[in-house]
Amino acid sequence: MGDALNLALREEMRRDPRVYCIGEDIVLGLPFGVTKGLVDEFGPERVLNAPISEAAIVGSAMGAAVTGLVPVVDMHFADFVTCAMDEVVNQIAKSRYMFGGQLDCPLTLRMPYGIGRSGGGHHSNSVEAWFVNTPGLKVCIPSTPADARGLLKTAIRDPDPVLVFEHRGLYRVTGEVPEAETPVPLGAADVKRPGRDVTVIATARMVHASLEAARRLAEEGVEVEVVDPRSLVPLDREALALSVRRTHRAVIAEEGPMRASVGAWLAWVIMEDCFDDLDAPIVRVAAPDVPIPFSPPLEGFVTPDADDVVAAVRQTLK
């Protein structure tokens, strides 16, 4: 998926000279390699290593975006968006609305996030809920290389600010990427595996955990449909509802904590759209409400996985 994102950046930077990348250590492509080699093709004017100044990195991106450039910001770790929170939620998110539509703010925030490899408390957090809760931002979250490339391209072309949550555990996931440049629209969910018994709505790494769960459950004759919303704002409510109306059962799987999260909201969306179609309560898979611990057994315990999805699906079938 890292290569697909790199390809998307290259394609968009070739297409539009206004596009530039900014972040910490992105010239060498640290920490995850996504921006690697871009400087060779586009030069240091368009691939900017910034000082450790998250507020200035994100804030300056807005300043550039409203005056003609198209920045793609690398947050390094999504955890550090806390150091630029005002810039994201008060400045960037509100610039079009508050100013009555006078200013475009075509800006992309790449948010490497997620649990894994004992990242520990400050390097593992799933913070997408805060931004879904912030009107004025579009939020997407790819699970495959093809989606990652397509969504990042769409994000860069979008005249509004878009956050792309890239699970850092997926950078090495491989998968087919189409030859042609195929942007994936925002607001279009994708059925990653069809099935008739239970709908599992999952994002990012949990899509893979859910597919694994689906394979295991298939052996028991349970056909799970895995639906990946791909973008959270806007959300393809129709696609989710369509699936649940057929299966009558829903599991929602995310990696963030339980409370006031994206999954809680999706559960409500399903309830609102499909209450009469549900044959069982929606079951959620999420991390318990604790910070992410360092030690592997602890980290393993809090990380939602295929087992959790299997258990959740079974619960909806009880």
Binding site: E45, A50, P51, S53, A55, A56, V58, G59, S60, A61, M62, G63, A64, A65, V66, T67, G68, L69, P71, D86, E87, N90, Q91, K94, S95, R96, Y97, M98, F99, G100, G101, Q102, L103, D104, P135, G136, K138, D158, P159, D160, G187, V233, P234, L235, D236, R237
Partner: protein, 325 residues
């Protein structure tokens, strides 16, 4: 470097326009015509007007919660501004922004800001796009003495300095952040002195002397246009009125306000113009009448304009619709 007669008169009219506009909105606010919170810049006009007089029309300004003066000095139309303060549909932001959260893109005024010092980090990005275009524009970001204690000041100045960006950091030091004295909150006692730590010019000017402000800003702007990077200006001034409308000002003495009135930047420039025989009472009267007429017009326009339709609250969120989901 000295401004010619035309520019002097222009600055005089500019300060008068800000002064009378602010006095009028105070009155309107007191009469319950304007919703929300209101911060006016009465007494501080030389900062906005002196700084903006050093700018080209295509230069950018980033402003603050106390931003009417900056917009007026940058050439913003009073009608759009006044209608916005009224919350009318034809306000410059369709009533969505209001006093603290408005912008006027038509004059490259990129926004007042409800968050102190936020402009300090937006500015380097504006500088970056200018640099990429090679357009020799500059961006001035205004902020208060209180705001200078926030992190974005540091990050923004450092970034602009290290990347040699065409930014002017303009601190209006009016001695107070709301009820908190600058002397008790800004260590070292000087905002301008902080510039040295970043290897950029820092200068303190009498912010009640519009010529001094214009000169300092002109130096900084020329430097920026030459591609030599940012500067920091600290203009010492006095706000005559409360921090916000309704502020009882228990924290400061009457003497300070009197000092402000004694050093009135508008009267000062008026005296200078008279001494140079560029202005007499009749001329001054005509200028004032013109400004009053402009303001009357803006008020009449705002008063008679419609409020937005409630459901317009859903418009302007994104460039493309529908995004209700």
């Amino acid at each position: 470097m000295a401004p010619g007669p035309d520019l002097l008169l222009q600055m005089y009219a500019g300060m008068l326009r800000v002064r009378l506009f602010e006095e009028r909105v105070r009155e309107l606010f007191a009469n319950g015509r304007l919703p929300g919170f209101l911060h006016t810049s009465i007494g501080q006009e030389a900062c906005a007007v002196g700084a903006c007089a050093a700018l080209r029309a295509d230069d950018y300004v980033l402003s603050t919660h106390r931003g009417h003066g900056h917009l007026i000095a940058k050439g913003g139309a009073l009608r759009g501004l006044m209608a916005e303060l009224y919350g009318k549909a034809n306000g410059v932001c369709h009533g969505k922004g209001g006093s603290m959260h408005l912008a006027d893109a038509s004059v490259n005024y990129l926004g007042a800001n409800g968050v102190l010092a936020a402009g300090c980090v937006l500015a380097p990005g504006v500088g970056l796009s200018i640099k990429r275009r090679g357009s020799a524009q500059v961006v001035v970001t205004f902020f208060g003495d209180g705001a200078a204690n926030r992190g974005p000041f540091h990050e923004g100045v450092n970034l602009a300095a290290v990347w040699t960006l065409p930014v002017v950091f303009f601190c209006e030091n009016n001695r107070w952040a709301s009820s908190t004295a600058s002397s008790l909150s800004a260590a070292g006692g000087s905002i301008a002195a902080r510039a040295a730590g970043y290897g950029i010019p820092g200068e303190t000017v009498d912010g009640n002397d519009v010529l001094a402000v214009w000169e300092a800003t002109t130096r900084a702007v020329l430097r920026a246009r030459r591609g030599e990077g940012p500067s920091l200006i600290e203009a010492r001034t006095i706000r005559w009125v409360g921090h916000f409308e309704g502020d009882a000002q228990a924290y400061r003495t009457k003497a300070e306000v009197e000092e402000g009135r004694r050093t009135d930047p508008l009267a000062r420039l008026g005296r200078l113009l008279e001494a140079r025989q560029l202005l007499d009472a009749a001329h001054a009267g005509r200028i004032r009448a013109g400004v009053v007429a402009e303001i009357d017009d803006a008020v009449a326009h705002a008063e008679t304009s419609p409020l937005p339709a409630p459901q317009d609250a859903l418009a302007d969120l994104f460039a493309s619709y529908p995004w209700s989901r």
